[in-house]
Amino acid sequence: MASVTMTVNGKSVSGDVEGRTLMSDFLRNDLRLTGTHIGCDTSQCGACVIHVNGEAVKSCTMFAVEADGAEVATIEGQANTDGSLNVIQQAFQDHHGLQCGFCTPGMVMSAAALLKDNPKPSEAEVREYLEGNICRCTGYHNIVKAIMAASGQDVPAVAAE
């Protein structure tokens, strides 16, 4: 067992973990932050995306001890301080960017990472950035729209919609 201390959503947290404890398991089981989801075993689906030191990573493909000392952000810390949805979350609701909600935390965290580096992405850039986030419900249509709307851009008009 090893002791780890890190900052998660602005709060300092500590815990004792095994070497094999994945960051996603530490969040879900030790910290009870179950908004970070596990949808695959091969690092493709992206339901587990969090930010470590400001960078998007797949928390199922990182050990908790590797985050020792890090600044970590999860979906639970994304809302505004008054509890209202942040710009990205609100855009997902406004544009129906989620259905079952399972991939959603990873999508929101990836979107946040994208917009941090690229505040006005094109449609193609949004789609390419989401390469590591799989959604089975939406066909991505409204996810892409939501992210573009969250960036302050006009949402592309789609014929007949």
Binding site: A2, E18, G19, R20, L22, D41, T42, S43, Q44, G46, V49, E55, A56, V57, K58, C60, T61, M62, F63, V65, E66, D68, S110, A113, L114, Y129, E131, G132, N133
Partner: protein
Amino acid sequence: MYAFEIERPSTIADAIKALSEEDAQALGGGQTLIPTLKQRLAMPATLVSLTGIGEMQGVCIGDNGEVCVGGATNHATVAAETAASYPGLSGLAGNIGDPAVRNRGTVGGSLANNDPSACYPAAALGSGATIITNTRQIAADDYFQGMFETALEEGEVITEVRFPVPEKSHYEKFVQPASRFALVGVFVAKYADGVRVAVTGASENGVYRWSEAETALSSDFSKDALDGLTVPADGMIADLHGSSDYRAHLVKVMTGRAVTAAA
């Protein structure tokens, strides 16, 4: 996963020491190793994480103008920091896996694993890079020894990779649509003394140089120079995503596109 300990040394020396223990294994970004561990296909006693070693991080320009990349540098950093100095390498690094994977996966980890469909081996071989380890320097031509096989000894760590910068280069990748590895990827680099063409994803022996194309392109660096060449399907990978014939065909198509796109 089986149980194991993780060590996080901060110097190369400490890492080498830790790796000398029984059943110790190096951990780079973990983007391949961790899924393997989840399947219980590896049983290390200790994982030695290399990502906390400062001297293995970052990108710089060497004395001879080569791009030097620390072995524990992640793909996103390479993509960002070589955009001006070596756009072909930057483009390759910036298209590995997906953004979150690129924030963790490392050049050393990729080259040490030598997955036959990985992108980095094509860049290293196509650039005639030098693989620097804690004990020696290995030319890329000597380093890759077949699928998942390299010249690395037990406990040897890639500390740095030096890429000579070509006049023009490009990596053209036809993605395997599920894994997003290369179904076929071709790295073309035009140097003053000739052209190098490295192919990944295609051969059962892992990354290789397509010498006929190198000869043809060295005298005429254009897509048309490839016209008379054929790529035999013998020894090409065949799987769900493509037959060996298809991969052989793609090698030529991707090479031509890489030449056309080279900048």
